[in-house]
Symmetry: C2
Subunit: 216 residues, 2 copies
């Protein structure tokens, strides 16, 4: 599978490239193509150092969209609107949103746009035929990047496109330890996204680090 | 500690009596005092059958409030307003809300009142000096009642009253397997409550039963 990462030089994008590029062809995009190449080279070298062959190349965000079958929007919520406004070609592609709109005043809180969630906001900015799937929202960026950490979390996945949801759940099953769980339609996305500020609060108030979630 | 349960004959109230009454004095309230006595007798007998001595008595909801140091509102959200309107004496008491406002149309969704959460709604209906703590929201009623089930979930606890929160976290630590986690102030309650419809969706869409949550 060809996986295009928009925002691939951020912590989550880079971490996902490290975790996915030995199984899939990763096309790592950035506003700045030279940064994308640096991150891509780093990804390949890091995995090579662990004796793992990977496929990753650095490109522009637009080329990542063009080349991917699945596109991951590895963006902070504040950058979603301007980034999507500058891109096209999402028609018929599966698009993953791991985006969480979060704010902080003392504690962290969920700060969704008036659409109700980042995912619903993103859906309105994509062409009708784009197949949006919410996934990977509740995994700390830091843990994606540290390959010594076993990522054995539950991953709540929701979408109104049943087939696209199944493709992404299968993608998650292929990773060594993550467990995808069907959380239902896109309307459930506010709950999935809002778990992230809860995890951040739990980390802060209990002196923990990089708290994750398991549903069992 | 004296624990008064308002709505003690419902599934969660009964389950909590079964899990708490060997450690604490449980005063199990109901609109119908005779039902409270039946549930209370059943609790004592069930635990006796397991060789465990317990302290539980059935009373009216008002007597449960009067007698408890800590009051658990084991009520469906739809019954909260009418029940609280008929009770008094919450001044200076620690009040636990495990209440989740949930609705369903195909999938389950979080359906909070305009106040923002069941807990904030409850806070407005209690006297200023009542010390509200949100806890036990995400544990399936069925699992409370089945004493063969090990309840080893995480319990997110939030409150604006730091001391009351600590009392309830200590209460939870005293239970054999549950792990309390400080989730911050009462403003976090919408997230904690909304996890319950997510768990219900995950159960339905993945053919699981009584799904719980762990934060690690």
């Amino acid at each position: 599978m060809k996986i295009g990462i928009v925002g691939g030089t951020g912590d989550i994008g880079e971490g996902m490239a490290l975790r996915l590029s030995h199984l899939h062809e990763v096309i790592l995009g950035s506003r700045d193509e030279s940064k994308a190449c640096t991150t891509s080279d780093h990804t390949i070298e890091t995995l090579k150092g662990r004796g793992v062959q990977s496929s990753c190349r650095g490109v522009s965000n637009q080329e990542a969209v063009n080349a991917g079958d699945v596109i991951i929007l590895a963006l902070p919520f504040a950058h979603v609107d301007s980034t999507l406004a500058g891109l096209n070609g999402f028609e018929n592609k599966i698009v993953i949103s791991p985006v969480n709109p979060i704010a902080r005043s003392g504690h962290f809180y969920y700060d969704p746009p008036e659409e109700g969630s980042a995912a619903i906001y993103i859906k309105k900015r994509l062409p009708e035929s784009a197949r949006l799937v919410v996934a990977f929202n509740n995994i700390a960026a830091h843990k994606w990047k540290d390959l010594d950490v076993i990522l054995d979390y539950s991953v709540a996945v929701c979408s109104d496109d049943f087939e696209a949801k199944k493709v992404i759940m299968d993608l998650i099953w292929d990773l060594p330890d993550l467990s995808p769980l069907d959380a239902g339609p896109l309307a459930v996305s506010p709950i999935v996204e809002s778990i992230t500020p809860l995890l951040l609060n739990i980390a802060v108030f209990n002196k923990m680090r990089d708290v994750g979630v398991y549903f069992r």
